[in-house]
């Protein structure tokens, strides 16, 4: 990139470090839009990262996650800390638009300068949530928010994506949403570091707790036994215990020398993902021409097979050979 962009990035970085919320918000947009300027700013700010406790929340829609986040903000604020929230909602795959409504639950914090809330659409890029959120969280970390809450849509791939972002993953369940299904959903038990049973004032919540606990007993947990915490987001009951459990998780990771390791592993994974995406982009671009169309036509006509084609594409990308798909 040009030096001009780099200079701009330095200015952005300075403003972000100085606590300028407008600059912070703008750089997040740059990152979301995958503008080089955003990543240049992150390059400058990278040394400042690594201080925040990044907490992911996931669970089924209707679980009251946003209300729970609202109460978590309250609890963190009452303990005297600043907090940033990234709330992710699905982007419509048909129109590319999104309605981001999680903020409604947290609007009472709009005028609190110790709270920063940002809504994001999944925008359906490869890696889904991971790329933009990962970068945004790093930026918020550099901007010295000690706590960063990432709330994700509780459907599909993003539940698993959250592991690539957060130090501590909170899985939120509620009674009455077809309990068995949500609890035993593939992968969800493995990713949770803390389990919150929200709406615990509703009948059936104790059953969810017991079910979770017995599922957890089946797994092997050497260092950390994920606790099950009951919360009532509408009243704030149990939220203090939830925050305490989340903090304990971080302490245990630190004491077991796992935190740095896990963070590095995430960083590596994110890097590999970005690389994959770039390569995919390159290949797609390279092949969106006449030759490429011909290849797909051949595939459709069964004149070639996808495995041969793969080999050709790969080698062509590596520059080993020119494309020749005429046999």
């Amino acid at each position: 990139m040009t030096t001009h962009a780099k200079n701009d990035s330095n200015i952005w970085a300075e403003r972000v470090l100085a606590g300028d919320r407008r600059a912070l918000a703008r750089v997040i947009s740059l990152l979301e839009n995958q503008e080089p300027e955003g990543f240049h700013t992150l390059k400058t700010l990278y040394p400042k990262t690594g201080q925040a406790h990044i907490i992911g929340l996931t669970g089924p829609p209707g679980g009251g996650k946003s209300s729970l986040v609202d109460r978590m903000i309250q609890e963190i604020r009452s303990r005297g800390h600043e907090v940033a929230v990234v709330a992710v909602d699905p982007t419509s795959p048909f129109t590319g638009g999104a309605i981001l409504g999680d903020r409604i639950r947290m609007q009472r914090w709009a005028s609190d300068t110790g709270v920063y809330i940002r809504s994001m659409g999944t925008r359906g890029s490869l890696g889904g949530l991971a790329r933009a959120v990962y970068a945004t969280v790093q930026l918020l970390d550099a901007a010295s928010f000690p706590y960063i809450l990432v709330e994700t849509v509780g459907v599909g791939q993003s539940e698993v994506d959250i592991v690539q972002v957060a130090d501590t993953v909170v899985v939120v369940s509620v009674p009455g949403l077809g309990d068995d299904v949500q609890v035993s959903k593939a992968g969800i038990m493995e990713i949770g570091d803390v389990f919150a049973v929200n709406k615990a004032d509703l009948p059936g919540s104790q059953r969810v707790v017991v079910e979770l606990q017995s599922m957890l007993d089946l797994g092997s947990h050497d260092v950390w036994q994920p606790p099950v915490v009951t919360t009532v987001a509408t009243t704030g009951k149990g939220v203090s215990e939830l925050i305490t459990a989340i903090q304990e998780h971080l302490v245990v990771l630190q004491e077991a020398n796992l935190l740095t390791k896990q963070r590095l592993a995430r960083e590596k994974e994110a890097l590999l993902q970005r690389l994959t995406e770039r390569i995919r982009c390159d290949i797609t671009k390279q092949w969106s021409n006449k030759q490429g169309n011909q290849a797909w036509e051949n595939l459709a006509a069964k004149k070639t097979d996808p495995y041969t084609l793969e080999e050709q594409l790969y080698l062509s990308w590596k520059g080993v050979t020119t494309v020749d798909n005429q046999d």
């Binding site: 209707g62 409504g101 409604i104 639950r105 509408t234």
Partner: protein
């Protein structure tokens, strides 16, 4: 004379295949499919075939008799016309009092009080959130002192008063009771209505304060208190009006309103009341939209369905418990800002539907309400519209005049059936309260609203003056202005009150009230005591907020 349905069926087929097919071949019909305003297909022709399973005695009966399809009174408008009740109120109590007296002089037969938003949401005029809203959509009431001015010169034993107030309904009712006491009118002589319908606030109108549970308690406390002390008072007006305004269909209006009604009845029964003790005082409030036939059918279907629900589901014995009495207002959302005089015609058709549908009272909107609050001239035309329908059109001379029309009966049946299906779905959610908490009702309304908007924008649905027959350069009509000094004046009055009243007494009644709120006793007596000491609406609501908490809306897209 009996009709041979088989023969009619054959003849209809022949007609369709012969003359109709020929006509359509030469001149295609204007549209592929004709739809009601709610988007339901309408057939070319209705015949006895469409009412084949129809049983007169069971499905229609006679006016004043179960299932009340034809009306709730034996003589309907031949005995007494509907109550002409124009919703009004703006600025301070003084200005509104003047408008009420004017309306009564013009032959209006009941009062209908519009409160400003701070009052409806339980904030005093001095509250920061009230800034800019004081006296805007209705009159500002901070305390009993304002009520005294609002009704000055109006004897409360001579008028019936409807108050559009929901979350703080108990407080406004308490003020009315104490005011009557001061006029020397005992509470058992008071007639009127409080809207008191919190569930539709959650889904459509937005003036909620407390969460569902304590809100339902306030409502059942009012039921209980009034059945004993204010027996002529309509303790609730279960409202589909605002749900329809939010964009739902006719079927949804009936279904969601009656589902709310079921929730209130269940709450009261659960609180230990006997259904026949409070059900006769339940009243309803519907919208009159543009589709005349569908609307008439809607009113009739709602009446029949409610009677059946009360009888079969709740085992009500008192015939008065089975009667769906309702107020109607013409559809505000049907008014256009373009060519506002056209709204007079719209309101006429809507009001006609309400009269043909057997309403007990009616508010007709004014032509300028898509632009601002109505001027006195516009309000007068709106009132005259009702009077012309009542006295000149002839529709008030015979009861349920459209009954027996094939289309009306077919539509009535359809609306009842489809509304019942919705009610079953809502039951599966665990009733209206949980269906609202889970966003089901809101989502259904939004879907309908969005579909309607798309139909208008595509030109599929024509709105005269909006997407067809527009004129360039419209002249802006003269509008009513609420004076900006209203807010300052109201705040000064409130400040003055706070200095003159016995503040120690106010505090002790408020403390007592919050104690009652923590327990299970009826809240009405405590609220009445607080009102009597000139505790403000905001202070009383704050005392309750501290115990009950506040509602957090679930917004669903």
């Amino acid at each position: 004379m009996t009709t041979d349905l088989k023969q009619v069926g054959g003849a209809k087929k022949a007609w369709e295949e012969g003359p109709v097919a020929k006509a359509v071949a030469r001149f295609p019909e204007r549209k592929e499919e004709f739809l009601t305003l709610s988007g339901t297909p309408v057939d070319r022709l209705y015949t006895p075939l469409d009412t084949a399973d129809f049983d007169y005695e069971q499905d229609l009966g006679f006016p004043g008799q179960y299932p009340f399809t034809r009306g709730i009174q034996p003589t309907m408008y031949r005995g007494r016309l509907w109550t002409m009740r124009q919703y009004a109120g703006f600025g301070t109590a003084e200005e509104s009092n003047e408008r009420y007296k004017y309306l009564l002089d013009q032959g209006q037969t009941g009062l209908s009080i519009a409160f400003d938003l701070p009052t409806q949401i339980g904030y005093d005029s001095s509250h920061p959130l009230a800034h800019g809203e004081v006296g805007k959509v209705g009159v500002a009431i901070d305390s009993l002192a304002d009520m005294e001015v609002l009704f000055s010169g109006i004897p409360l034993d001579k008028v019936s008063t409807s108050m559009t107030i929901n979350a703080p309904a108990a407080i406004l009712l308490a003020m009315y009771i104490v005011l009557a006491e001061k006029q020397g009118v005992p509470s058992d002589k008071l007639a009127g209505t409080i809207q008191n319908d919190i569930l539709k606030e959650y889904v459509a109108r937005g003036t909620y304060i407390f969460p569902p549970k304590p809100s339902m308690r306030l409502i059942t406390d009012i039921f209980e208190y009034c059945s004993d002390k204010v027996p002529k008072w309509n303790t609730i007006s279960i409202s589909g009006y605002h749900i329809r305004e939010a964009g739902c269909t006719a079927v949804q209006e009936v279904a969601f309103t009656l589902a709310d009604g079921i929730a209130y009845v269940e709450a009261a029964v659960e609180a230990g009341l006997d259904v026949d003790d409070f059900a006769p005082r339940l009243s309803f409030f519907f919208n009159a939209q543009m589709d005349l036939l569908e609307e008439v059918a809607k009113f009739r279907a709602a009446r029949r369905l409610w009677a059946r629900i009360m009888k079969n589901r709740f085992g009500a014995k008192n015939p008065r418990s089975l009667k769906l009495r309702f107020h109607t207002q013409t559809a505000g959302c049907a008014l256009t800002a373009q060519q506002p005089d056209n709204n007079i015609i719209r309101v006429t058709l809507q009001a006609l539907a309400a009269a043909l549908g057997g309403t007990q009272s009616l508010h007709t909107n004014s032509r300028d309400e898509a632009l601002s609050l109505p001027t006195q001239d516009s309000v007068t035309i709106a009132l005259r519209t009702q009077q012309i329908i009542a006295h000149e059109s002839g529709v008030a001379s015979t009861i349920d005049p459209l009954a027996g029309s094939y289309v009306i009966e077919a539509m009535t049946n359809r609306i009842e059936d489809e509304a019942m299906d919705y009610i079953k779905t809502i039951d599966e959610f665990g009733g209206a309260v949980s269906a609202i908490e889970q966003g089901f009702i809101q989502r259904e309304i939004q879907e309908s609203a969005y579909a309607y908007q798309q139909a208008v924008e595509s030109g599929e649905r024509i709105v005269v003056g909006v997407n067809k027959f527009q004129v360039a350069d419209e002249q802006a009509p003269e509008l009513l202005k609420v004076k900006p000094e209203v807010e300052a004046r109201q705040k000064a009055k409130l400040e003055n009150l706070r200095q003159q009243r016995d503040n120690a007494k106010v505090q002790s009644t408020l403390q007592q009230l919050s104690k009652t709120a923590q327990g299970d006793d009826n809240l009405m007596p405590g609220i009445i005591e607080a009102v009597r000491t000139y505790a403000t609406l905001g202070e009383i609501c704050d005392a309750l907020r501290q115990v009950f908490g506040e509602y957090e809306p679930s917004v669903i897209f």
